[in-house]
Amino acid sequence: MTGTSASQTVAPAGDDALDTIPKLLLRNATTHALRPAIRHKDFGIWQTWTWAQLCEEVRALSIGLRKLHLKRGDTVAIIGDNRPRLYATFAAVQCLGAIPVPVYQDSVAEEMAYVLEHAEVKIAVVEDQEQVDKVVSVADRLPQLKKIIYDDPRGLKEYEATNLHAFTDVQGLGREEMHANPGAEGWWLDEIGKGQGADVSVMLYTSGTTGRPKGVMLTHANIVVSARNGNRFDGFGPDDTLLAYLPMAWVGDHLFSYGQAYTAAMCVCCPESPETVVEDRREIGPTYFFAPPRVFENLLTQIMVRMEDAGAIKRRMFHAFLGVARRCGEDILNGKRVGAADRLLYGLGNFLVYAPLRNRMGFSRTRVAYTAGEAIGPELFRFYRALGINLKQLYGQTEASVYITLQPDGEVYSDSVGKPGPDVEIKIADSGEVLFRSPGVFLKYYKNEEATRAAKTPEGWVHTGDAGFFDQRGHLKIIDRAKDVGRLNNGALFAPKYLENRLKFYPEVREAVAFGQGEDFATMLVNIDLISVGNWAERNGVAYASYQELAAHTQVIEMVRARVDEMNKALAQEPQMAASQIRRFLILHKELDADDGELTRTLKVRRSFISERYAPLIKALYDGSRSCHVATEMTFEDGRKGVVEGEVAIIDMAVYPARAPQPLREAAE
């Protein structure tokens, strides 16, 4: 059982027969029976299900769901944080040939209703009272919804609805049936046997930046083949461990924590609660870690803030060795030649600073860490690599079952997203848009032929909607969304995301939205980072009662102004971008929030929505006013609304003359 080396995934023979996730579950329950399949911290202690136990739990649930009349082809919503029972639900549903539809757990009831209705969900398996309440509140619009099953019974004692069942009761139904009817298990195995790679395995609703979410239908073959390719690319096997903490409705979590976990028989760990992820990660020490850049940003901000509070000796040691790491850390990780003195210093730094830091962040055992979803700031990226963490980038989409490009070990650059993944073909359209074709290409959008036709050509090429190009190393570079790349009035290229990502690297800035398409110059809306700036305020005795008050403080404005100025100086060095220097900016009076529709559920900026919502502010950025009065409605987490209003100052910036075009290498330095 333990002899399998990490670089060996499953034995290639028999791969063809194992074409669905439920079949992989049966295999794991035999060949890896006693190894941990899933862990969850509960009452402060990590609890484990082995693959054999997981299989038993899935079987009981699966047969229980059958007793609740779930049939092949039906859809089942799964709503909640990453919990073992919800992961087991995916498999239990798939065993019967039904289709799981994970829904973002922090959606408000209205958004949830759309997905449940559109997907014609018959049963909803949810985490707790909060989710039950949300589903019940829209149930009258969902005639096809027959049952709600909940995992955590707390607070639900008094609920009298007859269509409400406890998770354990449904499993009880299954176990009773197995007891009463000896043929039940055989029937269940037959149902699994009927499943084929071409069957739809899951439906994932994309939190698109525009319009209603679309249901992306992925087959078992999509998931299983993509997962195997991913595992082979980085050598994942049964000895690997990962922490499942990103939304289950997101394709990344579905592929990593479910698809790859089942194909490689990896162990998936579920945190105690969303607030304890950092601590739980430290305890588990995952060997494989995935996070959007935002998570790495927050982590770095926290470390920097804590170091500011540390004693003088520690602080100086930290900064001195960080300098060493920046100089040679990445070369050492890439296996390049490094001088003996630097090697020695790095070794010392590793002992004193890097290793403790990695341990604190939970990266002590991490062999591979990926980031994707947004471009990552080069400084941020290099920081982690310099500490000896093998952080890489990948580029993917729901429609691709994640993988389009990945960075191979030893070929990791902060400014590219890597080479085409295994079995992936890529071509660049004349418009600059990236197209791909791979075994992971989705079947279609559910009940949306028009969108399917627009996204997927008859030959199987998929439009990504991103603009990019291959550099001389054969690596793909993504500049921005194809539709967002525009031009200033003087004809210069304007790539808003490129500007935003640069500014967001500074710890004081949480979010930035750049404007300039069809204008004479570039401007920006900025959100300060409440953790970082709040900490500065505390240390400098600046009192504030709210985000709005802190954001309007003159010293805070000055701090952000200095950062924008630094950015302008740097932009002036880059021939293509010099024209995009920020002439005017303002700090928003409220934080951009997914509940207000300003960010997507995966926390990406919804540009068009913001430009409509804050039209008066944007107008003020261009009409020369010194300030602008604004009132904005905001939504609280429970759906109630309030209004934030105030006067927002607009800051003028100096612009630096553009440096004459130079070789790219030097300009980047």
């Binding site: 969850h40 609890q47 029972r85 707390r154 607070g155 004692k157």
Partner: protein, 273 residues
């Protein structure tokens, strides 16, 4: 994997059936020198209810709680708890009989972690001595594990797992209040006294706290007496309300009845005395 246990109800431990009188106060008067804090107050608290004590500032609400948990000794009056008349009460005796409380100004051990603070609530339930616990051996170890489990259930219930090891002095006020409730719950009290559980909280925190209080009543088999200034909260949560003014009881009844009582309206709006 997850033990499907709600916080364990300790059924019928006092022999007082739900709806019957758990604690009664008859003609209680308390004065400090010339100041008469409570004058001839009588009311009762029934098993399984949420009983609110309200009144304008200085009405004697906190004095009332202090009398109930044995911190103050009324000069006159009879207090009966679980059918037994009380004499010479002390706070630790009240605690050992099953009365727990939280304070208006949070009274936690600031330097200790959330976990340790809640653990102190188990002190009265510990059977082994200091020495055994210092050696952390055999029965003492088993006892600690048992108590830790009880504490973990409370941590899970109050959703404070993320601050388990954080010193409470570093926590925001709303969370400190929650930890204090946790410590009181750790005693598995039969009667829980809450002195302004929502003071200084924002709307969201108040809603959370209300939810916890209601669940405590239902799942921990605990009777609750609370002082609160937020009338919305009082009217939503409580089964019965007693109103004090200048140490006197001026009304007693359902939230709806108390709201329209002329004496209560006068007390709050101010009438010449």
């Amino acid at each position: 994997m997850k033990a499907d246990v709600e916080p364990r109800p300790v059924a019928g431990r006092s022999g007082v059936a739900p709806g019957e009188v758990l604690l009664s106060l008859e003609h209680v008067s308390l004065s400090f020198g010339g100041v008469r804090a409570l004058r001839d107050v009588s009311f009762d608290i029934r098993k399984g209810e949420i009983r609110a004590i309200i009144g304008p500032n200085g009405a004697g609400k906190t004095s009332m709680l202090n009398v109930i948990n044995g911190f103050y000794h009324p000069q006159e009056g009879v207090i009966t708890f679980k059918g037994k008349r009380r004499h010479d009460m002390r706070p630790y005796l009240a605690a050992s009989q099953g009365i727990a409380r939280t304070f208006q100004n949070v009274a936690l051990f600031k330097g200790m972690s959330t976990l340790d603070n809640i653990m102190t609530g188990r002190t009265l339930k510990m059977r082994r001595g200091i020495l055994a616990h210092m050696l952390h051996w055999g029965p003492a170890q088993r006892e600690e594990i048992r108590h830790r489990e009880a504490v973990e259930r409370i941590i899970d219930f109050l959703e404070i797992a993320h601050i388990r090891k954080v010193p409470v002095g570093k926590l925001p006020y709303g969370l400190q209040k929650r930890v204090e409730l946790g410590r009181a719950l750790a005693m598995e009290p039969e009667l829980l006294l809450l002195d302004e559980p929502m003071a200084g909280m924002n709307l969201e925190e108040k809603q959370d706290m209300s939810r916890f209080i209601l669940t405590v009543k239902d799942s921990f088999d605990t009777t609750i007496a609370l002082i609160e200034h937020d009338m919305g909260v009082v009217m939503d949560l409580s089964d019965r309300v007693v109103v004090l003014d200048y140490g006197r009881k001026i009304a007693d009844g359902s939230p709806a009845a108390v709201q329209v009582d002329q004496a209560v309206i006068d007390a709050y709006l101010g009438v010449a005395h």
